[in-house]
Amino acid sequence: MLVPVIDCDVLVLGGGSAGIAAAITAARAGAKTLLLERHGSLGGMATAALVHSVCGLYFLPNESEPKLAHPGFPTEFAARLVSVGAASGPVRMGRVYVLPHSPPGFAAVCDMFISESLNLSTHLHSELIQASVVDGRLQHVEFSCRGVRSQVRARAWVDASGDAALCFMSGIDTYQSSSSSLQRPAFIFALQGVDVLLLDEQGRIRLAAIIATAVREGRLGSGALGTQVRATHRGSEAYVTIDLAGGANFDPTNPAQITELELEGRRLAIEIFTFLKHTHPALMEAHLSAFPARVGIRESRRLRGRLTITGDDVLRGTDSDESVALGTWPMENREKNTGPKWLFPRDNRPTQIPLGALHSAEVSNLWAAGRCISCDHEAQAAIRVMGTCMASGQAAGAAATIQASEDRRTAPSVPQVKALISKVARA
């Protein structure tokens, strides 16, 4: 059977925060762009995993007013979320600013952006199944939509899959941290019928007290430690976030293990919710209204790039001549499932993301964006958040576009990438 071939300039794999940024940027820059996404909607973790706030959009607070950190797509996307009522903020949470959003609203805004975009085709429900590298260049890939296969020939490629799936399928080296140190995954579910007035700060501390003492006394499993419940202030809705332990030999790219994670997430969600419904006044009338489409993996495979951002770079806020994007989130270490450990950079300095951290060391036309860019485990705890993903996505989309139009093996330069980002920016 003949497999239809799609020709394009740039293919972006993954329609999450990074992929959307890359695809829209490339399309606006004039590249014929194809976006592939395996779920039924775009947004990645912001929709499928029910992550409900965008982190990393603002500089770490040095003044009292929050300041958006990423000109271009991230700023524009955030503004659109707010203008359609899908987000409200920013909101200060401890020492950071976040933009709480509605997952369905995020999905709808993604749809708006792709519908408004010329030069962009999007294929949902499409899973990458094969990639062919010849002479150090990625030549073509194949994807399947429930068995209906298509081939894509592109000049430049952006891996925004989160799990560096395109890199992996290209047969090149990828990094993955050791099982014991990998960031633990999040499982987020929705409640309705919550008494939101009883979930204020005092109510949340009460919740912590109830859980801590119940775990200590053996009335609740220790998987419940680190549970966070937040009212969304949309009706009686709240989201519950739990971190999963992951077990020995934790590997989120292993099919058997990721299956176990999903089952464990739902089991634990029911156990914790049932317990809280009987013990916390805010949840007395609540019901569990939605599970996520998928568990929220925070860290898995990453690109091995020409450059690698280190934890030291994050903590020192090291300057870089090659910077094409910023990270503005602290290190949020979740190696344990009992809650995060925060490390802030010196003077709240942003992380510089160099072009070389987005560019494969082995395949000249392969780029990465989002949480799978080239960084070490420590740095990943800071750069994985969605605001940073949008910023690196924008840069990767620009780089891929330049490379596709010039079609040489010479890498696009940093000034070229920055100029193109500015040129197509609408915010």
Binding site: R204, A209, Q228, G339
Partner: protein, 84 residues
């Protein structure tokens, strides 16, 4: 603050800094923990850490904001409960 609570407070401060929060150079036993980023989840963690490190179980009715407002207030509560 009595000597027991003083040395305990120093140990608690160290524990908080090592496991939970980064505090500035001028962070003291009387600095506001919530300002420094302590939230309900961190309270849960801290309660379990105190149990692990000092063998103390803070009863549910004392896991309240005032207990955790400063390292000093926390140390005083812990001393009240009594170390095992």
């Amino acid at each position: 603050m009595n000597p027991d609570a003083s040395s305990l407070a120093a140990q608690i401060l160290h524990l908080v800094q090592a496991e939970l929060l980064e505090t500035g150079e001028d962070f003291t036993l009387d600095s506001d923990l919530f300002e420094a980023g302590l939230d309900s989840m961190a309270i849960m963690q801290l309660t379990m850490l105190l149990e692990r490190e000092f063998g103390v179980s803070i009863p549910e009715n004392l896991i309240v904001k005032s207990t955790f407002s400063t390292v000093r207030s926390l140390a005083q509560v812990v001393v009240q409960i009594g170390l095992k």
